[in-house]
């Protein structure tokens, strides 16, 4: 029962992605469906995190959300992540997807830096603001999903297997 529901969920997701991006044309037709679906999920995840980050930041000035210190460097990093997500989505809209080694490396580096930044923030401020732990661990979890998706792309597209550097030009 559970397997069936997961399979049907992915079937719906596959149909949705196919209708959104016209995956049978352009560069996208060369990519496995699984890669396109996971990249799409990653884009949604980044979008969600970006909005949530801003809500938490400005919510700190209201009585309802705990105020946290400004981390402008971390916000710049999040902005880079959002920008990459935007360009990925925009490219997919035009049936293009960049899985070159440098792009994937940059993605991995940014996402890892976000995790490290959050863990460091938790370690430093958890005693002063106990809420920091769950607030930021939620983000760490979401960012970890992105890291796993990128690692899946590395594995599926053999991004690092070619010593010359694998570049997909269609």
């Amino acid at each position: 029962m559970k397997k069936t529901s997961i399979a049907s969920f992915f079937f719906i997701l596959k149909n949705h992605v196919e209708s959104c991006f016209d995956t049978h044309h352009g560069q996208l037709r060369r990519f496995p469906n699984s890669v396109i679906i996971w990249v799409y999920i990653m884009c949604l995840n980044i979008l969600f995190q970006g909005f949530l980050d801003l809500i938490i930041k400005f919510g700190g000035y209201t009585p309802w959300i705990v105020s946290m210190p400004w981390r402008i460097d971390f916000l710049f990093l999040t902005a880079i992540s959002v920008l990459m997500g935007f360009h990925t989505l925009n490219g997919m809209k035009h049936q293009k997807l960049d899985v070159t080694r440098n792009s994937v490396q940059l993605g991995l580096l940014v996402e890892t830096a976000l995790i490290v930044g959050d863990l460091h923030f938790i370690a430093v401020y958890k005693d002063i603001i106990p809420e920091v732990f769950w607030f930021r661990m939620f983000f760490v979890g979401l960012t970890l999903i992105n890291v796993f998706i990128l690692l899946f792309i590395v594995h599926r597209m053999h991004v690092f297997s070619d010593k010359q550097g694998k570049i997909h030009i269609f």
């Binding site: 970006g50 210190p69 400004w70 402008i72 916000l75 710049f76 925009n90 002063i128």
Partner: protein
């Protein structure tokens, strides 16, 4: 799909505003901290002129912190030590 792209553009615009505001805020009105060695114990927002979640930090260290005591120490770069139960505020 256009809606999603537009949502991304809204988010990017919002980030543009936040980054400019955040850079100005962090440069001219930084969040000040009092540290015990290696660890901040109190945060102070110099823009609003108030402590960041005062109730939270004081309960975390299991002693009441007098805001005036902390303010006085904050700008003299003195250190509040956590080995006392109640800081002498007089």
């Amino acid at each position: 799909m256009d809606k999603l792209t537009k949502t991304y553009l809204v988010l990017l615009s919002a980030f543009g505003v936040v980054l400019v505001f955040g850079t100005v805020k962090s440069t001219f009105y930084p969040d000040e901290s009092i540290y015990v060695p290696g660890k901040p114990v109190v945060l102070y927002d110099s823009m609003t002129g108030d402590f960041i979640d005062g109730d939270v930090y004081s309960s975390a260290f299991r002693f009441e912190v007098d805001p005036n005591y902390v303010k006085a120490n904050l700008f003299n770069n003195e250190v509040v030590t956590s080995d006392v139960d109640t800081p002498d505020c007089n």
